[in-house]
């Protein structure tokens, strides 16, 4: 169990949790959504700037939450900037499966580096109560880019 804890709270997650990247409110965001975890009261807002050809030109977030949800939001924004919306959707699907401990099969070559990075968060699969923390930012970004009002990870 303590190994699982150490795997979950590894250095890179603690770093992203303490010093989140893209923690800001971009003025030129084209869409945003609020995500909340009604069980615990954690809230975050994800901002995305989608340009021509569905390119994600910028992604950022604000809010408060646990180390896992903040680290996940931080890493997610880093990863999706420069991707297309459809690629972000695909990554969300893979990431969600990783967190649930499901088989993700052979991931597309183009995502290899991203999936390596996201792998550090897959330790949540040992903690079913925390899966929603890891996926909250992704659900929220999904709601933002697809024009849904708000999101919960419930």
């Amino acid at each position: 169990m303590e190994d699982d804890i150490r795997e979950l709270y590894q250095e890179v997650i603690l770093d992203h949790g303490k010093n989140p990247r893209n923690f800001r409110h971009p003025e030129d965001a084209t869409c945003e959504a609020n995500g909340n975890n009604p069980l615990c009261g954690d809230k975050l807002t994800v901002f995305v700037k989608v340009g021509a050809n569905d390119d994600i030109e910028d992604a950022a977030f604000e809010g408060r939450g646990c180390a896992i949800s903040v680290a996940s939001a931080s890493m997610m924004t880093n990863i999706v900037i420069g991707k297309k919306v459809a690629q972000a959707d695909e990554l969300f699907d893979i990431f969600h499966k990783m967190c649930m401990g499901e088989d993700v099969g052979e991931p597309p070559k183009e995502f290899e580096d991203d999936i390596d990075k996201l792998m550090v968060l897959s330790g949540v699969k040992q903690f079913p109560m925390r899966v929603k923390c890891a996926t909250l930012a992704w659900h929220t970004m999904n709601a933002a880019v697809h024009g849904k009002e708000a999101s919960t990870s419930e």
Partner: protein, 420 residues
Amino acid sequence: MMTGANLSRKEEPDFRYDVSAIRADFPALSLEINGHPLAFLDSGASAQKPVHVLERMDRAYRSEYANVHRGAYTLSQLATESYENARATVASFMNAKTPDEIIFTRNVTEAINLVAYSYGRKFLSAGDEIIISHMEHHANIVPWQLLRDAIGIVIKIAPIDDAGNFLMDEFKKLIGSRTKLIAITQISNVLGTIVPIKEIVNLAHEAGAHVLIDGAQGICHHGVDVQDLDAEFYVFTGHKLYGPTGIGVLWGKLDLLNEMPPYQGGGDMIENVTFEKSTYREAPARFEAGTPPIVEAIGLAAAIDYVSSIGLANIAAHENSVLAYATNKLSQVKGLKIIGQADRKAGIISFELKGAHPHDIGTIVDSKGVAIRAGHHCAQPLMERYGVAATARASLGMYSNSDDIDQLVDALNYVKEIFD
């Protein structure tokens, strides 16, 4: 109770109180969680159950079970007797005038919704005011908001200070000619604040207002004498009082209950039904439509018998000494801030730990066998008051001891090790 077996540890509170003998009555307390002995510090959410309750419910299902108030046969009569005896046990525990004042509900939430719906629509109208406090559980906020949306009452909020003390002078200013009801907690589930409910009842009555006390936390840390308190309603739930889930209690003054319309319609609550019109029985039957939680009521009575055999005052004294021990120990953890330091407190300690979110704390201490609550504790307006989204909370029960606290402190140091 005293065996002397546990006297060697000088921190152990109250020498007349044999906490190790009590712990032995609770099977769950000997569980091992993630390779560590369980330190269960979430009794404020729901308490563990003594073997007396488990065995009593088992026996009820095995040898005295049938539906109540219906059958002409022996087994139904046995079940009905046990169920009604449970009502009498609850009545005597609260010092109610008669068991007829005891209405079994599913939990506190249902009890408050019952009052808001039935009493609210009968006795309140647009512009009438009710007062709740800033530290209410959602169960004592949302039902009143539903009523407000339905009939246009006004909800006023009695403030607290930063330590979590109820501000009596501010409360007095809120009472006016339109004040009809004060609905307030006996003990805050987040801050542990003990609210001066007797004084509140007196003030309310001077103004001609009624009072509902949410005893969810109060019943197990303090108990209640409803005749002495003289409020109109008092509600509590079984599962925090070491009884089963699915059983709560609404106590109300009998005359008032009998003036209130039914909350739910169905079997067992009627005198006579035709397709044109139905007439209703008096309390408590009026408010217990359908098959009630029979065995849960019997289990609750067993829990009350168990608690009474030890004595609520003894339990409170024990919890107070563990609370003092815990407050002292936790205050020494660097970066830890206790939220809720009211002058009068029960065994509930909410806290923040610098640099660690409550959820992370909850997950990490669990790996050391420590069960605490992390979250908003169904009290979001109160979280807002303190500018936090969530807190970690350790809450005590009759079986809590200094070992639990030491294990918590060690686990918190492990959290700090990870985050520092």
